[in-house]
């Protein structure tokens, strides 16, 4: 049994300790926002915030997050209460197929909490681990910069 905080509430999961965190969250906890892309820390689709850091969840054993704080894209915001990043992604229509977006949002959220006013180059560097095949990169960068602006204007 592994207990941790998921999007602000305590959950406990009865799965083998080495089950990948991504699989546990998608299949056991039925949160489908985090995506499988490679299972090898090479694409970023599975990223979650673990104690505030953007981390790959596809290779992360479940028991390694015991007692920790895990946030998935669903924990960033909802259609009723969107995170500024989610608002900005919609405003910029940042996404083609959208498969990469949860990982992008998580990476961007980690960036903005460490560096609330990044410039464009810093955004690109922060997102460089996240792959997008549809070529939505520039819109994603614009969306992150827009969210940063909004966070600055509404403290």
């Amino acid at each position: 049994m592994t207990a941790f905080y998921l999007n602000g509430t305590t959950v406990s999961v009865d799965l083998p300790a080495d089950t990948p965190l991504l699989t546990a969250i998608r299949n056991e906890l039925a949160l489908f926002g985090s995506r499988f892309g490679c299972g090898a820390e090479q694409c970023g689709s599975c990223m979650m915030l673990i104690d505030g850091q953007a981390e790959f969840s596809c290779t992360r054993p479940l028991d390694s997050v015991a007692g920790r704080d895990v946030i998935t894209v669903e924990g960033l915001g909802t259609p009723e209460h969107p995170h500024p990043l989610q608002q900005a992604f919609l405003a910029e229509q940042a996404g083609q197929c959208g498969y990469c977006l949860s990982g992008m949002l998580i990476s961007a959220a980690a960036l903005l909490s460490a560096n609330p006013q990044p410039d464009e180059a810093e955004v690109r560097t922060a997102l460089n681990r996240n792959l997008c095949r549809c070529g939505a990169h520039n819109r994603i960068v614009r969306a992150v910069l827009r969210a940063a602006d909004q966070l600055r204007d509404t403290p």
Binding site: L15, L90, L131, A136
Partner: protein
């Protein structure tokens, strides 16, 4: 007996699917269901189709519910590909919705006595001179749409449209930004079991002996097809990994030498098709010979292929991200020996799809496992290695051009020769099913060899081989390989990428050799005003070269009209060549006729251009004599954020011209513009894709 009069032609896919109720449904509660047979593959088509429908019906965009396609009820619209969706589905829906509006209004006019021309439609309500006299919702249940679309309907003019032609937010994007279940990967059904396939160690390998099932798993083995199923995904994954390490395969060399691909393409048995054979207009004073090679490319979707299948009572139900659910149904029925009526395929969205990837193949994998577990829904998802190692690729290609010019440097003759596998291996098109596992079974189906789609649908290896320029003479020979050592099918633009690269790099070189400006040189050889307009537009966008360019700076231009019949697109690329080539900025001007969703179209063009930078600079499928070695992101690299150029896009306003798709128009011109910019920067003519430092020094060495 007299033959029935032929039915009048209807626009797009309506011609073959004439029943209005198949496309449109109204609901008492004020909702409108639109049911296209085309599917969302990440390109935003569903949003554009909703815009067309809302406009023609005169209802608010928000009232439209787009229904996912299913073979059970949707119109059969063939394949969602080739930038044809707006033409085929959009124009069908425009006509069908105008017809529906007309039918509802005439019934209302008859019933109320209010003349037709005094009735206005306001968000679905019918308003007469003295108020509301009806609505789509009031008559929702009256069966008015249970009829074939009439041939004559009044379609709105460009000026009358208020939704199509404006920027509308993508319908599907909120779910994806909030992480709500929407993809095929997120589908869960009661009692679902999870499966993985264990593909042969290398191509053509044979199973030596059947392995034992790992604990808690069931094995499905049929010939060389091996899959494993379990109650949880983690168990199935772990079992597949264990099996892959344990199973013994009898392997052999079946692939060509990667370093000898040019010779392989030239020497393989092939079917030769001569598409043009006109003698030159004069004897050339000078002849330029060029040759371009592109390796096999992968779709490299960020998501892996996935399908859900349930087999019960001799019926098969499948959920799939296939681009062609009806054709997939046909091949599934053939492989499983079922009547076609016993198979239903429902579409669910997958990750971005740029052509015929493994979506259809994984659907057969899942169906084979489902047949062995009657009653249980089976979810089968590929691994990243399956995805990059076994999805159909885009064929390696060799293109050779011989261009003859007169004393001024103007073209008098042009010969273009293509050596390539076919670019079409989609299911349902061949005597034998083309799905991957069909050829792996104990009683295998013969694996078909890729064909080229007919020229009328844009061709395959020959796509964009016809130069748009006035060339004088023209000889066009296409060699389609009759062996297919590496399984290939359709990828964005098919042969257009290499043909456009070849033509546009050759035009650039001809201009330079004649000491002429590359823009002037192209314009001189063009008759089509729309072509000239996009070239001039992109030149204006890019502006003059910087006064003091950095070291390694280069600029190049290229142009094509996709398929010769679709969108016009001109690109200027700005690069910096240091150790590696970096694309800094791209300017793109395009003319796609009427544009349904301008921002959506610009986004698609931009996405295609960024992907083209990746193809141009980074990508190559690698292999040894036995198997594919580029089966992870480490070994199949794509462009990342830090290398993505700025992209400026402009769509020329042409609201009165027929709309064409834009998804593929930028691919060829972007690759070619980069090649021309590399020459500008380094003086070398890139002939070998991708344009890496190694390949450029190879091309430098081979220069005459």
């Amino acid at each position: 007996m007299t033959a029935a009069a032929p039915k009048p032609a209807l626009p797009g896919s309506l011609n073959a699917n004439r029943l209005l109720s198949q496309w449109i449904g109204f609901d008492k509660s004020g909702r409108v269901s639109i049911r296209p047979g085309k599917v969302e593959i990440g390109q935003g088509i569903v949003t554009a189709l909703a815009q067309i429908a809302a406009d023609e019906l005169d209802v608010a965009f928000e009232r439209i519910d787009m229904q996912p396609a299913t073979t059970a009820t949707s119109p059969n619209e063939g394949v969602t590909s080739g930038s044809r969706s707006v033409t085929e589905s959009g124009m069908a829906l425009r006509h069908a919705c105008a017809a529906a509006r007309q039918i509802f209004l005439s019934v209302t006019a008859q019933r109320t006595g209010v003349p037709l021309d005094r009735i206005e439609v306001v968000d679905g309500r019918f308003i007469g001179p003295s108020g509301e006299i009806g609505s789509y919702w009031a008559d929702a249940d009256t069966g008015l749409l249970a009829c074939e679309a009439p041939a004559k309907v009044k379609i709105k003019s460009a000026a009358e449209r208020s939704i199509a032609g404006t920027t509308v937010a993508r319908i599907d994007l909120p779910d994806k930004v909030f992480g709500l279940p929407r993809f095929i990967h997120d589908l869960r059904l009661p009692g679902m079991i999870f499966a993985r396939v264990v593909r042969p160690a290398t191509r053509g390998a044979r199973l030596v002996e059947a392995p034992e099932a790992p604990a808690g798993c069931s094995l499905v083995i049929d010939g060389n097809f091996v899959a494993v199923a379990a109650d949880t995904e983690a168990t199935a994954d772990a079992a597949a990994t264990k099996l892959a390490a344990r199973i013994r395969w009898d392997e052999r060399d079946t692939l060509p030498e990667q370093t000898e691909m040019r010779a392989f393409l030239r020497a393989s048995p092939a079917e030769k098709l001569t598409l043009a054979d006109q003698p030159g207009r004069a004897a050339p004073t000078q002849t330029l010979r060029t040759q371009f090679y592109r390796p096999y490319l992968s779709h490299a979707s960020i998501g892996v292929c996935c399908a859900v299948a349930r087999f019960a009572d001799d019926r098969l139900e499948v959920w799939s991200h296939s681009q062609s659910i009806f054709l997939l149904r046909k091949d599934l029925a053939r492989v499983l020996g079922l009547p076609i009526e016993a198979v239903t395929v429902h579409h669910r969205e997958g990750a971005g799809c740029y052509g015929h990837n493994g979506a259809d193949d994984v659907a057969l994998d899942a169906s084979l496992v489902a047949r062995a577990h009657p009653g249980s829904p089976v979810r089968l998802q590929w691994s990243r290695a399956d995805e990059l190692g076994w999805s159909p690729f885009s064929s390696a290609m060799l293109v050779e051009i011989e261009a003859g010019v007169d004393a001024k440097g103007d073209l008098v003759d042009w010969k273009h020769e293509v050596f390539s596998n076919g670019h079409l291996l989609r299911p349902g098109n061949f005597d034998s099913p083309s799905l991957l596992a069909a050829a792996e079974l104990a009683t295998p189906f013969e694996a078909p060899i890729a064909q080229n789609p007919p020229l009328a649908s844009g061709g395959g290896a020959d796509r964009n081989a016809f130069p748009i320029y006035r060339t004088g003479g023209l000889t066009l020979d296409i060699h389609r390989l009759l062996d297919m050592p590496i399984r290939v099918s359709s990828l964005r633009g098919l042969g257009a990428m290499v043909n456009v690269l070849a033509i546009e790099a050759t035009m650039d070189e001809l201009a330079a050799t004649a000491g002429r400006d590359p823009v002037e040189y192209r314009l001189t050889h063009l008759d089509d005003q729309r072509a000239k307009d996009v070239i001039e537009a992109v030149v204006a966008m890019a502006g003059p070269r910087p006064a003091a360019p950095p070291d390694g700076y280069g600029r190049g231009l290229a142009f094509a009209r996709y398929k010769g019949t679709s969108a016009y697109c001109a690109v200027v690329a700005e690069i910096e060549a240091e150790e590696q080539v970096r694309v800094r900025r791209l300017w793109i001007a395009a003319d796609a006729g009427e544009v349904i969703n301008p921002e959506g179209a610009a986004h698609q063009i931009e996405g295609g251009a960024v992907q083209a930078c990746s193809f141009a600079l980074k990508e190559a499928v690698t292999f040894d004599r036995r198997g594919i070695t580029s089966n992870a992101w480490e070994t199949y690299q794509i462009l990342r954020f830090e290398d993505v150029p700025q992209v400026m896009t402009q769509l020329l306003p042409r609201p009165d011209l027929p709309p064409v798709g834009v998804g593929e128009c930028a691919t060829g011109p972007t690759v070619a513009a980069i090649a021309n910019a590399i020459h500008d920067a380094l003086g070398v003519r890139p002939r070998t894709m991708p344009f890496t430092a190694d390949n450029l020094s190879l091309d430098m060495g081979n220069a005459p």
